[in-house]
């Protein structure tokens, strides 16, 4: 237990000790503040900010941290201690997920200046749940990117490519897809954007069991994907 707390605190210390990571954490919140100030009548921007905030922090922070440590050799140094490498990687993912949740809440509170209903307890809980499942999915993506990127530069390139993919998913006209496909996709984490849209924007949105079932499924899928990605990374690292 002691080592888990120490590992988490080391990760947090590393984030605050690195100016680059601080900028990475603060930039989405700052940008959201400016945009909401300039365009108070564009609530559709809120969900985009929430998604990209989670993406940037979870994917970029986790994968940059892992690959940087692999490049500098500190990950190898950790691999020759009694600690399981999976714990080290899970700690990194957990810290990024934690930071992304904190900044999600900050952006939600900023957006609440124009959409006060956002911080009603039920809706806030759904936004947090959706943010958590999205962050877990992105954490799995981050570990996968780290597995296949040899250098920090490659992480930056692949990370940018994945953002483009995310934009494409956001713009896909799901309503025009065949019914069966829509039904299947509606349970996949890929449609997190829709949850955000409903939870953030729909005036008639009322939190209830209807939202919690897919959130719970996606949380389970996210956790499974993160642990599979970490196991794969470890197997490749120690091959």
């Amino acid at each position: 237990m002691n080592i888990v707390v120490r590992s988490l605190s080391l990760e947090v210390t590393k984030v605050f000790a690195s100016p680059t990571l601080i900028v990475l954490l603060l930039s989405p919140v700052t940008a959201a503040f400016v945009i909401f100030l300039l365009f108070p009548d564009s609530p559709s921007l809120v969900n985009l900010f929430l998604l990209f905030n989670i993406y940037i922090i979870t994917v970029m922070n986790t994968s940059l941290s892992i690959v940087h440590e692999r490049e500098t050799g500190t990950l190898t140094a950790m691999a020759v201690t009694p600690l399981d490498l999976r714990l080290v990687l899970a700690t990194k993912a957990a810290v990024s997920v934690g930071f992304s949740l904190l900044t999600t809440l900050a952006i939600t509170y900023l957006a609440a200046r124009n959409i006060p209903a956002l911080i009603e307890p039920g809706r806030l809980a759904v936004v947090t749940g959706v943010a958590l499942m999205t962050a877990l999915l992105f954490a799995a993506v981050a570990v996968m990117i780290s597995t296949f990127s040899a250098t920090v530069k490659q992480v930056e390139q692949v990370g940018t490519g994945v953002i483009m993919g995310l934009l494409l998913v956001l713009m896909l006209p799901f309503d025009r897809l065949p019914d069966a496909l829509q039904q299947a996709l509606s349970w996949l984490p890929i449609l997190n954007a829709r949850f955000f849209l409903d939870a953030v924007l729909a005036p008639s949105f009322s939190p209830g069991p209807g939202q919690w079932a897919p959130i719970a499924v996606n949380l389970a899928i996210g956790l499974a994907l993160v642990s599979a990605a970490i196991t794969w990374f470890r197997a490749k690292f120690l091959r």
Partner: protein, 300 residues
């Protein structure tokens, strides 16, 4: 303490280690020498289970390891060729985290800081340290849990000569304190100074193994003639004198041959007024470890 039997490893079609067998005894400093790409680091990685061997067996502390039990890492300290420390964290922060990772008491942090003279630097971030201080911190981290076995992979590579000498002093102290050291290096001076036994790896195989004096004796059938200043006269007559040119660059040359031939060449050089010929230094000697190494590595 360490026993490797017929250990093999290939990366795709490239065979990095081709059946290596060796034993490191408790309390000894064992040197693993070889050129870049000979397989030294792969052997160390297999020992530490950072890479899985394709065949053969590896035993540590009498226990056969394929997947290293995590607890066994408490008995091993590792120093890598680069410091492998968290640059953005302080010296004491790095050591505290290492102590927590190994389950060592926190008091050990102050002990190793004292032992390695890191007191004035304890609150400095690692990125602000010199290379020498970084390496000292790395060694302090490697022994924070008081391990029985320390594996050192090129610990002085890239260090200034005076800093490298200081690091060697620290390693000598560890050896004298009864630790078992496995030193992977291609710096002969370091190996000659520290190691009780040596293995030279060539193309993934152990070419020779024994104590430094055993290896020198094994290659003593030839003497080496070293000439500095103007080696041209002796180079011109090398073939005629039955000597082989081992090394020649500008103003220095090394030639090897049977002792009688080397002494004849030396007498001839000295009888012809070496000063007038521009010869500044000439001497004949048995092979140093470096010469043994060069012969093994460059030999057939």
């Amino acid at each position: 303490m360490i026993r490797l039997q017929d250990v093999r490893k290939a990366y795709g079609a490239v065979e990095a280690v081709k059946g290596v067998s060796l034993e490191v005894r408790p309390g000894e400093c064992f040197g693993l020498l070889g050129p870049n790409g000979a397989g030294k680091t792969t052997i160390a990685r297999m020992l530490l289970c950072l890479t899985q061997a394709d065949g053969g067996s590896i035993s540590l502390f009498g226990q056969r390891v394929t997947r290293m039990p995590r607890e066994l890492y408490r008995r091993i300290g590792v120093v890598f060729d680069s410091a492998n420390l968290y640059d953005e964290i302080t010296v004491v922060g790095n050591l505290q985290y290492a102590a927590a990772s190994f389950g060592a008491p926190r008091s050990r942090v102050d002990e190793v800081i004292e032992q390695f003279g890191l007191g004035p630097h304890r609150n400095k971030k690692v990125r602000h340290l010199s290379k020498g201080l970084k390496q000292r911190t790395a060694i302090a981290r490697a022994i924070i849990h008081n391990p029985e076995l320390i594996i050192l992979d090129e610990p002085t590579t890239g260090l200034d000569p005076d800093v490298a000498q200081e690091v060697r002093g620290i390693l000598a102290d560890l050896y004298r304190s009864g630790k078992t050291l496995l030193l992977i290096s291609h710096i002969m001076q370091e190996v000659e100074q520290l190691c009780s036994r040596v293995a030279i790896i060539k193309d993934g195989r152990i070419a020779v193994m024994g104590s430094v004096s055993e290896l020198r004796d094994q290659f003593a059938s030839e003497l080496v003639l070293k000439v500095r200043g103007n080696p041209k006269p002796v180079l011109d007559e090398a073939a005629q004198l039955g000597l082989r040119v081992v090394h020649h660059s500008g103003d220095s040359a090394q030639l090897a041959g049977a002792p009688a031939q080397v002494w004849t060449a030396l007498r001839q050089l000295l009888s012809r007024d070496p000063d007038a010929q521009g010869i500044k230094e000439v001497h004949a000697a048995g092979p140093s470890l470096e010469e043994v190494y060069i012969r093994v590595v460059n030999g057939p």
